[in-house]
């Protein structure tokens, strides 16, 4: 096995990992019961899958054509910073507009805090 073959194996394994993670994230979106668990699946798995695929694209162009694309590295950093914040904002907006939790949820610690805060913010 020469270097080209080894690198193509590594790159294809990374691409496959990324696409399988993306598939798992899509299954999680369908299967999970409420918005909070769904955003859990949608943010984490798909962020990692997108980063895997971008890393594989970076390696493909770096090894194959000697092209070190700073844009892809910037994209990886950008996705890594912004995707979890997007998930946080979506679930936060859902909580504040009163989307109910799953029936089997045991505790909701934010509820008491919100109830305590409400009279002061109303006045």
């Amino acid at each position: 096995m020469n270097a080209d073959e080894i690198s193509s194996w590594i790159i294809s394994i990374i691409v496959l990992t990324g696409s399988v993670l993306s598939l798992i994230s899509a299954f999680g979106l369908i299967r999970l019961p409420d918005i909070y668990t769904r955003s859990h699946a949608a943010t984490k798995a798909s962020t990692l899958s997108v980063m895997c695929i971008l890393i594989a694209a970076f390696l493909f162009f770096a090894v194959g054509e000697g092209l070190y694309s700073a844009r892809i590295l910037l994209g990886i950093v950008f996705v890594f910073i912004t995707a979890p914040v997007g998930g946080h904002l979506i679930s936060r907006a859902a909580y504040h507009t009163g989307v109910t939790l799953w029936d089997s949820s045991i505790q909701d610690q934010l509820k008491e805090k919100k109830r305590k805060q409400r009279p002061s913010s109303r006045s």
Partner: protein, 140 residues
């Protein structure tokens, strides 16, 4: 209602500079590769829209005390000025030229007068987008 937006604001402070940097990169990239004035201007204005989402309108106006209608006007003036500039060299309206120049740090660069026209496009796009968004966002 005053809400607690620490996470959004902190991330905005970091991400804003990445987007602005990338928009400048795309703007200068436009001569030989995908990019240019229009998409660079749109990306800059999207960075400023992100700032508007994370903070409120008054804060952004205090940070950027620019009337974006004037930015649009300045962009149109630059674009017309590049067209008029070709008259000084006995060339038809909007003629473009380019040349190679050596710079101390950057090495040899290709300088095209199309870049100045692109600056005009960039300013017009930023000005119009932010005028529209600020006008819509103001009256509630």
């Amino acid at each position: 209602m005053k809400s607690n937006d620490v996470i959004l604001q902190t991330v905005t402070n970091i991400v804003l500079f990445i987007i602005l940097m990338f928009s400048v990169f795309i703007f200068f990239n436009g001569h030989h590769e995908p990019g240019g004035g229009f998409i660079g201007g749109l990306m800059t204005s999207s960075a400023l829209v992100l700032l508007l989402l994370a903070y409120d309108l008054e804060t952004v106006k205090r940070v950027l005390p620019v009337d974006f209608k004037h930015v649009t006007a300045a962009g149109l003036l630059v674009a017309v000025g590049t067209g008029m500039g070709s008259f000084f060299f006995d060339a038809p309206f909007l003629s473009q030229t380019y040349g190679y120049r050596h710079f101390p740090v950057l090495g040899e660069l290709e300088l095209a007068t199309a870049l100045i026209f692109d600056i005009g496009v960039y300013l017009v796009v930023v000005g119009i987008t932010l005028t529209i968004i600020q006008t819509i966002g103001e009256d509630r």
